[in-house]
Amino acid sequence: MYNKKVLDTYANAKNTGEIENADGVGTVGNASCGDIMQISLKIEDDRIVDAKFKTFGCAAAIASSETATEMIKGKTLDEALQIKNADVVEVLEGLPPQKIHCSVLAEEAIAAAIKDYRDKQGK
């Protein structure tokens, strides 16, 4: 069901963990649905300099987390917000239809982490 790219990304994920004193953290999903995704960001001058994830979920959720965190590194916040779930799916060279929601979760986690940062800045 999974292609080689998804399996490789799942097996070799390197953005795992949590950034200490992160500038923004976003958590989406819940355990009873089978998916929780948490993305933490290090942000300097409106630019994402580091991104890590912690994910409870299937191989697609883990591969989507890895791909999304990799894609937003080095991007400005506005650029990162332009990344949609379809872009994550494209980098993964496709996900099974019932797993598309995992890529949506990644898009939402990025947005939540950036919102968390902006909310803190706004204070």
């Binding site: 999974y2 399996l7 799942y10 097996a11 994920a13 795992t16 963990g17 958590t27 355990a31 009873s32 649905c33 089978g34 998916d35 929780i36 995704m37 948490q38 994830f53 912690k54 994910t55 409870f56 979920g57 299937c58 191989a59 697609a60 959720a61 883990i62 019932q98 797993k99």
Partner: protein
């Protein structure tokens, strides 16, 4: 190393079984319904297989109907019996942990006006005779309880349920798809009126099964067409598959004690090691009445399909009760019915052993399981290591 620990999903066809089947693809290939010599030869072979199977189940050859497998047999038993006996009542009793072939058929029957009661199970995955007795009504026409569960291996009190139903005059069907091969089936002793089997679960070929229907029971028919199976199941007789099923059943009964001993030793070793060496996991179902090949665990803080794929990348094949494996959002109805939380059901993994597995493979699976669980927990948002101790956040 490649390790197949998904023997409850399907099994490899036994070499002896394959050899027995081969002549009936190319040499004795006739249609048993044909009147000529080719047909008569094939018919004789099917008759022999039917007699052999009947003997192994303690049934009569005329009570064995060949089908395409477990799902067809379950569909036939329930729909056929429900429609035939609906004038006497429209109430059916089954369990919360049946295979979808039963539960989906019950849903269809409900849409046709039948009422279905699903018996609950205890933490050990078993139904109680008391609950069954309380659920019976004047209009109950059929009870269907699986012989043994496919996910956590609970063996149901089939003989007792059969005796009770016989006394009450209620028809009793059992889906024995997962039980065949490791439990002795005797339809007389166990008071069974209808029974479903599928060959590929006991080292026979896929695409063939049977429905046992006790003589005197009217179960109508599901497949309409020609007059095969004494007019009750249309479709050209699958001669090689039927020969294979008969051979596989014969071998499984012949070798049952030895195979069970070997399989149980590996399974018990596996359960013991996992419970001792993997923190925060629990065995789903009980130990006393459990298929010898089954181990089903829930691993806290991580999701089952993630574990499955991790093990797969190490060459180990298992199945998972997580929603992500099934394609819908609900995790295993079986693990939930045994009292597990949604999270536990999402994190459940079934390991099912077979006669071809080895102790070396079992130990390899434990090691790879430990690695996979540790890795996935290392980045689970639900799990945190504090001062070297595993702590739930």
């Amino acid at each position: 190393m490649r390790v197949y620990l998904d023997n409850s999903a399907t099994t490899a066809v036994d070499r002896e079984v394959l050899d027995a089947m081969m002549p009936y693809f190319t040499d004795t290939f006739g249609n048993p319904s044909s009147l000529h010599g080719y047909g008569r030869e094939a018919l004789a072979v099917v008759d022999q297989a039917r007699e052999k199977i009947a003997r192994l189940l303690n049934a009569k050859p005329t009570e064995i109907y060949f089908t395409s497998g477990g799902s067809e047999s379950d569909n036939w038993a329930l729909r056929g019996a429900a429609h035939t006996y609906q004038k006497q009542g429209k109430h059916i009793i089954t369990t919360a942990i049946e295979h979808p072939a039963i539960l989906e058929t019950c849903k269809l029957l409900e849409s046709e006006g039948f009422e279905v009661t699903k018996l609950p199970v205890g933490r050990d995955g078993r139904v109680s005779l008391e609950d069954l007795k309380n659920a019976v009504r004047d209009d109950t026409i059929l009870v269907s309880v699986m012989f043994a569960n496919n996910e956590m291996g609970a063996i149901q009190p089939i003989a007792e349920i059969g005796a009770f139903c016989r006394e009450e005059g209620i028809l009793f069907h059992t889906d024995a798809v997962q039980a065949a091969g490791s439990i002795k089936i005797d339809v007389q002793e166990q008071n069974i009126d209808m029974l479903s089997l599928s060959a590929h679960k006991f080292h026979g070929p896929k695409g063939v099964g049977l429905l046992y229907i006790r003589s005197g029971v009217r179960a109508g028919k599901l497949i309409y067409g020609g007059g095969q199976e004494r007019g009750f199941r249309a479709g050209t007789t699958n001669v090689p598959a039927i020969v294979g099923m008969a051979k596989a059943l014969e071998i499984s009964v012949r070798d049952m004690d030895n195979d069970n001993e070997h399989i149980k030793a590996m399974r018990d070793h596996f359960i013991k090691r996992v419970l001792a060496e993997v923190p925060y996991c629990k065995l789903n179902g009980g130990m006393e009445h459990r298929l010898v090949n089954n181990a089903n665990f829930s691993f806290d803080y991580i999701e089952g399909e993630g574990i499955l794929i991790g093990l797969d990348l190490s060459g180990i094949a298992v199945s998972s009760g997580s929603a992500c494996s099934s394609g819908d959002l609900e995790p295993s109805h079986v693990i939930l019915a045994c009292g597990a939380t949604m999270e536990e059901a999402h994190g459940s993994i079934r390991f099912s052993f077979g006669k071809d597995n080895t102790m070396e493979q079992t130990d390899y699976a434990v090691e790879k399981l430990k690695e996979t669980v540790t890795r996935l927990r290392s980045f689970s948002p639900l799990f945190k290591e504090i001062k070297g101790e595993d702590t739930y956040v």
